[in-house]
């Protein structure tokens, strides 16, 4: 079985993929590079954040604690709480909207006129998205290990792997949402805007749940909670969170396939 659509899509993404990977490596390098000076005043940073209003603290730490005195705590707050997910989401939502992009530009007509089912096209597009995120997460993991150890921050290999796996699942989940919106509407703008909006909402739900009581019950539905609620860099893999994320992705892709098979292709 040849995965031609997957291969073509992956090739189309190749160049931007390299740029993204370099960006992530540089970002990690920057955070790691400034760590020695932060570490020296680590406790005062922690105090500073502790003095922030509770709402701000919840927002910037996704409801978790802050600890700049250990490498894991520092990386968790600085890299994994905001910058990392933001970049991964921008990439994944972009890749997930590739199908809507083809429809928007008009190249989908000729693609679908080939003897290949729509479900197959969609699943191969999804596979390309997941593979792209996997490559980026591998780059991020290697950067954490290599640059971290060079700076004397010993990040446990397995915990770093768990953190990037959860982060990757977060990205793929929002990419799958972009795929679903694209499959439903065929509109590139919507396929990008809707997941971005949902991501902001999900981020806020997870962040504020610790101080807003009515958000408590829905916190677990936030992909951000599945990603970072258990602090993977310090506690490692959460099989439950992996399962919840994978199920969420499966539901999104299933809905996308069902809706894409049913509707007219836009011109």
């Amino acid at each position: 079985m040849r995965l031609s659509v997957f291969a073509r899509t992956a090739r189309d993404q190749r160049r931007s993929m390299v740029a993204w990977a370099i960006g992530l490596v540089l970002l990690v390098g920057m955070y790691v590079g400034v760590y020695p000076s932060v570490k020296g005043s680590g406790s005062s940073f922690t105090k500073l954040i502790d003095q922030m209003p509770k709402t701000f603290r919840a927002l910037f730490t996704t409801g978790g604690g802050v600890d700049f005195t250990t490498p894991a705590g520092y990386l968790n707050t600085e890299l994994l709480t905001f910058m990392g997910p933001m970049l991964v989401l921008v990439y994944a939502i972009g890749a997930g909207s590739a199908l809507a992009g083809e429809e928007d530009r008009g190249t989908l007509d000729l693609l679908l006129a080939n003897p290949i089912g729509r479900a197959r096209v969609l699943l191969e597009k999804f596979a390309a998205l997941a593979a792209g995120v996997a490559v980026l997460m591998t780059a991020l993991w290697l950067a954490l290990l290599v640059e971290g150890s060079a700076a004397g921050m010993d990040v446990p290999l397995a915990h770093a792997a768990a953190a990037v796996l959860h982060l990757g699942l977060l990205g793929v989940e929002f990419g799958a949402l972009a795929l679903l919106v694209g499959a439903l509407t065929g509109r590139l703008a919507l396929a990008r805007a809707v997941p971005a909006g949902v991501a902001v909402a999900a981020y806020l739900v997870n962040g504020f749940a610790s101080i807003v009581s009515w958000l408590g019950p829905i916190r677990a539905s936030s992909p951000f909670y599945q990603y970072i609620g258990h602090d993977p860099l310090r506690t490692g893999l959460s099989p439950t969170a992996v399962l919840v994320s994978v199920l969420g992705i499966a539901v999104l892709v299933g809905l996308a396939t069902a809706s894409f098979r049913r509707r007219d292709v836009l011109t």
Binding site: R105, T107, L110
Partner: protein, 316 residues
């Protein structure tokens, strides 16, 4: 109009028509874009699908390829349902969209290799190379660097490269210069010579005129006429102008079958007659001294317009 099995004593069921549209209807919201189209196109036929822009040509074609879902009725290709069995239909059909858009970052060769891989027919790349040579198209240039005409050539190449049993072409010659059009018409001839069927749309009649066996005329989502081109030509009026010295009795001219717009002015007789009445006209003219005579075949465009005005008169 199925083909009846020929050999004596052997009872062949009539073959499936290559294209069959049955009550094909498509609504976009409240707007009815296509209203109950019935049509069959047989093997080896070149069918011209004619109508002004917005009449429903592209909608019909995209329904035929399963890119749109019919509101009512159905389209089949070689007995396969265009919507439910679209993958099987695509394996037998080549398609040239009305505004072919292809990934501009690819070269022509990358595009045809991609489609050949999707068709699981790697040898199609060779046939695409042959077609590209024939149309003088450079497959190694990026698509975004190609002119509109060359893009159209590439779209033609990918539609024909897999030797499909049916080629569906939406306004295929737009953007092609006359020499290339000629080559393209030759390709259509070769395609039907090997038994394949061509359905192509156009809003210009004299393009269809040269290659089609039959034409269907679509207007506001309805098929208003399906005719053999030969019959259509017979109905087409010839414009006659004769300079006659002396007075003319219009009686014998008026009685000609199908004569139209008969006038005499300053010694010039003008009228339009269909081909079967030309003989009678010449004989009627023979009784007068004719100083000058011109007969021009009215192009089918005029007939086409006549169809349209009839259809709008019906609607009124």
């Amino acid at each position: 109009m199925g083909v009846v099995g020929g050999e004596a004593g052997v009872d062949h069921p009539p073959p499936d028509p290559v294209v069959r549209l049955e009550g094909l209807t498509k609504d976009y919201g409240r707007h009815r874009a296509l209203d109950g189209i019935d049509l069959t196109v047989g093997p080896g036929e070149i069918f011209g699908y004619l109508g002004p822009n917005g009449a429903g040509k592209t909608t019909t074609i995209r329904l035929l390829l399963g890119l749109l879902r019919p509101t009512a009725g159905r389209a089949t290709v070689l007995g396969l349902d265009s919507w439910r069995d679209s993958t099987a239909v695509h394996a037998r059909a080549g398609y040239l969209p009305g505004e072919p858009t292809m990934n501009g970052r690819l070269t022509g060769r990358e595009l045809v290799s991609y489609f050949a891989a999707l068709r699981r027919r790697p040898a199609d790349v060779t046939s695409a190379t042959g077609l590209a040579d024939r149309f003088d198209l450079d497959l190694d240039r990026r698509i975004r660097a190609l002119s509109r005409g060359n893009r159209q050539k590439l779209a033609i190449v990918q539609a024909f490269m897999s030797d499909p049993d049916l080629v569906v072409l939406d306004e295929p010659t737009s953007g092609l210069d006359p020499l290339v059009q000629q080559e393209f018409h030759q390709l259509l001839g070769e395609t039907t010579a090997r038994g394949a069927t061509v359905l192509f749309s156009s809003h210009v009649l004299n393009e269809v005129d040269r290659v089609a066996d039959r034409v269907g005329i679509i207007r506001q989502g309805r098929l208003v006429a399906v005719e053999h081109l030969a019959d259509l030509r017979a109905k087409a009026l010839h414009r006659v102008e004769a300079r006659i010295t002396g007075p003319v009795d219009l009686g014998p001219f008026r009685s000609l079958d199908g004569v139209r717009d008969l006038t005499v002015e300053d010694g010039v007789l003008r009228c339009g007659v269909p081909r079967p009445s030309l003989d009678g006209l010449i004989k009627a003219l023979g009784r007068y001294p004719v100083a000058d005579l011109s007969v021009t075949e009215a192009d089918l465009e005029e007939l086409f317009l006549a169809y349209y005005s009839e259809a709008s008169a019906d609607a009124a």
